[in-house]
């Protein structure tokens, strides 16, 4: 950081980075812009970038047809619920693996991760039948259970890699002072682990929010989250680009904004042990 960088080089870096970043971001930007156009402007040739009459009619049309807030609320409950339950189950496990590693620890961890490789379609019908029999179809509880389970391995692993970086000396000092296991976790570890837990929480909310296989197949109306909301716009009905864009913007905006505001926390823990 001490090195002085010539402004000319900095300018070149800036130009290149901005160009690439804008290209990567463009599809999202274009979708948001299109959502404010009329259907006719949306397919205008040549495309109009900014100079059009901005309208909210697509948002009204989408809201009128599918109750956005119900879907939004379902998404919130399901992604938060599954992440929090996942954390409650995973924190003790990750703690134990990180600080009391046994011979099998690594294998258990890898086995957990390998359960994520189960192709979901392979077990859809059996799970559907089980859900039917337990009355879990189209309930938020059912989705919370499934999403907790599919994200649990990732949660355990992220926490494990994070906990491992906490110096053991501190724990030993706490033990010397006679701290029991529980108080060790609550008073010593947890405060140190908060950043790691926070970023795990964020990442899993994102994964759960965007999960589109189970949420689509196990819900009908009551528990349908935003992934189901967007599914009803997936084929054209006459001119539909603007409406599709509005629905897309509504579906991704909450998580996108959350992601932007919390990106520092998210990035800090998003290493999966990649950094030593």
């Amino acid at each position: 950081m001490a090195r002085a960088v010539p402004n000319s080089r900095k300018a070149i870096n800036t130009a290149v980075a901005w160009t690439i970043a804008i290209l990567i971001f463009f599809p999202i930007l274009w979708t948001v812009l299109t959502s404010f156009k009329t259907e006719a402007t949306a397919i205008a040739d040549p495309p109009v970038f900014l100079a059009f009459d901005w309208t909210l009619e697509n948002y009204t049309a989408v809201q009128e047809r599918s109750d956005y807030f119900r879907h939004f609320w379902n998404s919130v409950v399901i992604s938060l619920g599954s992440t929090i339950i996942g954390l409650i189950i995973a924190i003790p496990a990750a703690w134990a693996m990180a600080f009391v590693p046994g011979r099998q620890t690594k294998n258990v961890l890898m086995w957990m991760l390998s359960t994520k490789m189960l192709p979901p379609v392979g077990v859809l019908v059996p799970l559907y039948l089980i859900f039917r029999d337990w009355g879990l179809l189209d309930t938020r509880l059912g989705l919370v259970i499934v999403l907790t389970l599919i994200n649990l391995p990732i949660i355990v692993w992220m926490l494990y890699t994070y906990f491992r970086e906490i110096p053991v000396d501190i724990l030993e000092a706490a033990r010397m002072d006679g701290a029991g296991l529980a108080s060790e976790v609550i008073y010593v570890l947890t405060p140190m682990a908060v950043p790691g837990i926070a970023s795990t929480l964020l990442l899993n909310i994102i994964l759960a929010w965007n999960e589109a296989f189970w949420t689509l197949n196990l819900t009908a109306a009551n528990a349908a989250p935003l992934t189901a909301f967007i599914a009803s716009y997936s084929s054209p009905e006459g001119l539909f680009y603007a409406k599709l864009s509005a629905a897309s913007t509504m579906a991704i905006a909450p998580i996108l904004i959350m992601g932007w505001f919390s990106q520092k926390q998210l990035v800090r823990g998003l290493t999966f042990g990649a950094v030593k």
């Binding site: 029999d133 179809l137 189209d138 109306a221 009551n222 054209p236 006459g238």
Partner: protein, 443 residues
């Protein structure tokens, strides 16, 4: 593992019994309705206020999905008896098959004034199993030619009321102007038994082809299938829009409304959307003609389809659902649509009375051709050759969904240029043979 499975299955039986309580008729009821995101259904969803006003104890919850997605969800639900939905939107392909399996609630004791005899006979017959109706038709359709009168004139060609395929191909060629992104003909290319195979099967019918001979042997190796498929591919490759292999009904509707297509041969129900000045840029210039036939073959494809509302036997609010289904397919509903959005928007193809209504005939230039096409469709004898099955643009056996979709994939691969027509057909032949053998139709 076996014990586990048994335990789970046992638990299932218990739950089914304990949950089988019925709702009383005046208690508040929520109906979950699964429907397709086609224009008429979206309109119905918009008009539900009229229903809930008259039935304050009933709340409606909509699950509106794209056709394939809907079919998958609804089929899984009903086949496993899950009862997530109270009203299903299904085609006349499913109704008889599901009715026979007792998956649907019989629709007798309809409200007074429903007038079942007013339903078009061919449609009504398709929804009846052993003299019992298992679904009520929401709208019905055959297929016909829709074309741009202005482009036809400009190109100096004509399309007669009963065109042959060579009339269509000549006109399509003359209207194609790729520089201006005007394409002579738009047809379904998206794989699926209800998408490209619906069209191609009807087209093959009009070439004198059939899916199976009387021993259930698939017939894709016949000269009729070959010439139908060749012409289909030629039309789309030479005069069709780019990306035709991904276009289904809705995609083509959108293209036609934007003025990109000279001719579009598809479901008659599209007519009310392409002539709607609010949605279509070419509303003033649309002409209609009957589904083409090949010279010398007296067959106009025999396309007959209806989207129907049915009630799964597993629903726990059958009575309320019945009220809704009867309302949405009634004359009264048609009048509500007409009042709010004009007669042109009335759901077509289900009731004789609609076609005797002068107001409708005046407002809908396509009414006559729609009725002609629907009356011409014979689903009992879909080909000029003898067939062991019923159904026009589909074969009414449960295996057809799977087979039709796999064959549709093979055809779309040929359309995308990955294989030749010959390769696609021989692939279709072997796929179908394989499935029919497995299903025990042939050995």
């Amino acid at each position: 593992m076996k014990t586990l499975t048994r335990a789970l299955l046992g638990a299932s039986a218990l739950c089914t019994v304990s949950l089988a309580a019925q709702a009383q008729s005046d208690d508040p009821v929520t109906l979950t309705i699964a429907t397709v995101n086609n224009g008429d259904m979206v309109r119905m969803q918009g008009l539900t206020g009229a229903f809930t006003e008259a039935h304050p104890n009933i709340t409606l919850q909509w699950v509106t999905l794209e056709e394939n997605e809907l079919r998958r969800r609804v089929t899984t639900d009903i086949a496993t008896g899950s009862g997530q939905f109270d009203v299903l939107t299904i085609g006349n392909y499913e109704v008889p098959i599901w009715g026979k399996q007792d998956w649907l609630a019989p629709l007798d004791e309809l409200p007074e004034g429903y007038d079942t005899d007013d339903l078009l006979p061919s449609i009504r017959q398709a929804l009846t199993v052993d003299d019992t109706l298992y679904a009520l038709p929401f709208y019905g359709e055959s297929a016909m030619v829709m074309y741009r009168t202005d482009l036809v004139e400009e190109a100096g060609v004509t399309i007669p009321d009963q065109p042959t395929w060579s009339d269509i191909m000549t006109a399509a060629e003359a209207m194609t102007n790729e520089a201006e992104q005007t394409y002579g003909i738009c047809l379904r290319g998206k794989p699926g038994w209800g998408e490209n195979m619906a069209f191609l099967t009807a087209m093959a019918n009009s070439y004198g082809a059939r899916w199976f001979d009387m021993d259930w042997r698939p017939q894709f190796d016949s000269p009729e299938w070959q010439s139908a498929t060749n012409d289909y591919l030629t039309m789309l490759n030479e005069y069709g829009p780019p990306g035709a292999a991904a276009n289904g009904f809705n995609e083509n509707l959108s293209l036609f409304q934007q003025g990109r297509c000279g001719i579009w041969i598809d479901a008659t129900v599209a007519a009310s959307f392409v002539t709607d000045p609010d949605e279509s840029t070419v509303a003033e210039n649309v002409g209609f003609a009957q589904f083409p036939n090949k010279e010398g073959v007296d067959n106009h494809g025999n396309w007959l389809w209806s989207w129907n509302l049915a009630i799964p036997a597993s629903s726990d609010s059958v009575d309320a659902a019945k009220e809704f289904v009867a309302w949405a397919t009634s004359k009264e509903y048609t009048e509500i649509v007409a009042e709010e959005q004009g007669w042109r928007a009335a759901p077509p193809g289900t009731r004789t009375s609609l076609y005797e209504n002068q107001e409708y005939i005046d407002a809908a230039p396509f009414a006559e051709m729609t009725l002609t096409s629907m009356e011409a469709a014979d689903t009992q004898n879909s080909s000029v050759q003898e067939v062991p099955y019923t159904g026009g643009q589909f074969v009414a056996i449960p295996e057809f969904q799977g087979i039709g979709t796999a064959v549709g994939q093979a055809i779309s691969a040929a359309l995308a240029g990955q294989s030749t027509a010959e390769q696609a057909l021989s692939q279709a032949q072997s796929i179908t043979e394989r499935e029919m053998q497995r299903a025990g139709y042939m050995d």
